[in-house]
Amino acid sequence: MSAQLNPDEIRKRIARRIALELESGMVVNLGVGIPTLIQDFLQPNHGVFLQSENGLLGMGPTPPDDEFDMDLISASKHPITLEPGASIFSSSDSFAMIRGGHIDVAVMGALQVSERGEIANWSIPGQDILGVGGAMDLVASAKTMMIAINHLTKDSKPKLVRNLSYPTSGIRFAQKVIDGGERIFIENSRMILREIAPDCTLEEISATTEAHFEVAEDLKTMPVTPHAMGSGIA
């Protein structure tokens, strides 16, 4: 779906839509991949506090090239800045914060999401498993998990599946899934389609989704342009 958009545009669309979900005062951890783009789509004075698991609360946007400092990076190892009121702490204090349940929202990428909301986001069967990072800590402990994914894998297989065939990241479930064409809530272990992009059809989504999902009675059109930001749809 959204075949007319290139992958980069789809990634930005997802990031933009998730930005609308984040409210002032929330403590939010952004995973690698699409989630790192979200920061660029937050409104000025958004009041969202970005936590980075390498030891930082109050992450600001990418600095201009001439202010780059390798000693100030995100968990994705990108250069960042500090917002006023930011604090720096150790990795152990950072994961005490994460694992103690002090992160309101973790936005993460995924390789698969099951229809109950289980997340696979660290390992591909048959490939070398040599990296997990903080994925399992966040899945075990974040109050709310939002998943930012492309609808299909690179070889056009559904990522929203009945049951995970990829290794799971934990036993807790995601609450929201946002891809380029739709926004899905997972409530009581059931997927509910809440929004659909204007350039997608229900038929397309059904054909490319393995997981069972219900369609919300008040199915809405997903805001997909910058213009729609701050429209109160979140």
């Binding site: 202010e67 390798m70 000693d71 190892k77 990795s91 994961f95 990296g131 990241s169």
Partner: protein, 240 residues
């Protein structure tokens, strides 16, 4: 020239890494290349005394940089950490069977090191329950939730990176170069800290010291790398 106030704990990098033995376990600070004790790592590589090292560190640096250098020079037998895919050399060494890897979720790694430093033999965590990384681990239910038993981690030596030390060995860190360094300072028999600067005791505010000096055995000055355009690069000439 680097100005250094004399400290009883100050040694050259060469003297410091002579304390590392063949087969030792090493905690190595840093996240990616940030907060990495480059000088100490390079010196271990060059000195070439201690092989078959077990490195406990979040990553193995990047290809040819930081711990990537020590890997390529053939000094590492096993790596314990959370994320090795960012160094292709590590992935390939593992594929060839030349490197053993133990993968631990990053928070569990940080907590296990803290436990090792704080006298906690083992602890129960929710992280990893139901996953292949939790497979075979002892499980127990607390308050209706499944938890895994994880034992504390300690090492023979820790090499860490701080920004400033005072003459006693108190340490402060710079921005996100703090990361794993303070917790690793607590969990080894011998702790070697690489710093940019040493100031007189009393010049660091008591409330701002992150690592109290009792955790630090040896101070080494970073005299090899300087920050150029925000990145650490090797100095063009060896310091006199």
């Amino acid at each position: 020239m680097i100005e250094v106030v004399h400290s009883q704990k100050l040694k050259t990098a060469q003297e410091a890494v002579e304390r590392i033995q063949d087969g030792d376990s090493l905690l190595v600070g840093g996240f990616g290349l940030t907060g990495t004790p480059f000088t100490l790592i390079d010196t271990i590589t060059e000195q070439d005394r201690a092989r078959n090292l077990t490195i406990i560190s979040n990553n193995l640096g990047e290809a040819g940089k930081g711990l990537g250098k020590l890997l390529n020079s053939g000094h590492i037998r096993k790596a314990v950490g959370s994320y090795f895919t960012s160094n292709r050399d590590a992935v390939q060494a593992w594929s060839r069977g030349e490197l053993e890897i133990e993968l631990i979720p990053q928070g569990t790694l940080a907590e296990a090191i803290r436990a090792g430093g704080a006298g906690i033999a083992a602890f129960y965590t929710k992280t990893g329950v139901g996953t292949s990384l939790g497979a075979g681990k002892e499980e127990r239910v607390f308050c209706g939730e499944r938890h895994l038993l994880v034992e504390g981690i300690r090492a023979k030596v820790a090499i860490i990176r701080a920004y400033k030390a005072d003459t006693l060995g108190n340490l402060v860190y710079f921005k996100t170069a703090r990361n794993f360094n303070p917790v690793m300072a607590t969990a080894a028999d011998l702790v070697i800290a690489e710093v940019d600067e040493i100031v007189e005791a009393g010049q660091l505010e008591p409330e701002q010291i992150v690592t109290p000096h009792s955790y630090v055995d040896i101070l080494v000055i970073n005299d090899r790398y300087e920050k150029v355009g925000g990145t650490y690069v090797e100095r063009s000439v060896e310091p006199g």
